[in-house]
Subunit: 178 residues, 2 copies
DNA sequence: GCTGTGTAGTTGACGTAGCAACTATAACGG
DNA sequence: CCGTTATAGTTGCTACGTCAACTACACAGC
């Protein structure tokens, strides 16, 4: 189909195409660990918590439904329940009943949560620069984005109902970076 | 250093260079989840267990020191202890005292473990093809390998003593794929 | 050879995530 | 309206992984 047949041969354990795959796994493991560690040490926030805070901050009104949050941060429903539990007890988030749907709950970012996010985003973005972007040139970045998007699309959504593949992020102005 | 200055500006939350980063995270999360799920459903083995079995199988004599295994599979020492505990109770691995160092222990692959690995490697390699390689052409692969290796190198080893960056894998003939 | 320091691996306590079961509400059909 | 079915979140149980403390041995240097 492309230069070489995409699936064709069963692929053996020493196929050279496994090298990029292994590099991909290794790179992710190392970078994720480092960023998580940095966030914890410098801001007492885990990577998952940071991701949740950021997602809530970017949502309209700085509030988001639990289910939607679960999709955004790639966690199960119960995982999100517990993550929000922690953020609530830290005072970073408040639970709020959903007006439109009495079953629903929303996570609302508190002022404290926003401050924490702003502070953490500084070092986190620096970490991304340092551990990821710094060794990649513009060409790498376009290539990676295209390839990784294709992979993500191919692998499909991570969990829950397949009928709800929300691709559009709210994209509100937050700019926690500055 | 490259085409654009490596770190330069502080990087804001809406920098376009974050898109590849996000795609990278998403791709990893989805593919890793899928592969793990497939291994569990089809062969009752987790991704981590598979990785350990494979690493042991590739080591000389199909046995490996615990510490070395920890580095290879990107786990803490205690993580490996427990992983091997599980594999031992499944009958896939045996613990063996180390002749050269009485403190040490080795994990030895059993016949059963090797069979399991062979079976699992079939579907696992198929999964890698399907969820990762199938959407990438040869050019993508070289690009990804180079970029990801650079990232992994930059982020440094995941844990433990920095003085022991073993890059050379034993590379014994095993070919569990066929 | 004994003592002090370093290293290999295990264990205990804990944190986090997942699945399945459950509760409460919504939404639909008659 | 009322029963049926679907959906949103939470909870119990369990699996897995980490750190810190611990045990046992190795390897100096005297």
């Amino acid at each position: 189909m492309t230069l070489q047949e995409p699936i064709a041969e069963p692929l053996t354990a020493r196929d050279p195409r496994l090298a990029p795959w292994r590099a991909f796994l290794l790179a992710h493991a190392r970078v994720a660990r480092r960023l998580d560690e940095e966030l914890r040490v410098e801001h007492d926030v885990s990577f998952a918590e940071y991701d949740a805070l950021l997602t809530i901050a970017q949502a309209p009104g700085r509030r988001i439904r639990m289910g939607l949050l679960a999709e955004e941060v790639l966690l199960s429903k119960s995982g999100v329940t517990r993550l929000i539990d922690r953020l609530v007890s830290d005072g970073h988030v408040e639970r709020s009943a959903c007006l439109a749907d009495a079953r629903g709950a929303e996570a609302v970012l508190t002022e404290r949560g926003l401050e924490r996010l702003r502070a953490a985003s500084n070092s986190h973005l620096r970490g991304i620069s340092e551990h990821f972007l710094s060794v990649l040139d513009a060409e790498d970045l376009t290539s990676i984005e295209r390839a990784m998007s294709a992979v993500a699309r191919q692998a499909g959504p991570g969990r829950s109902d397949p009928g709800n593949c929300v691709t559009d992020v709210p994209e509100q102005s937050v700019d926690v970076a500055r």
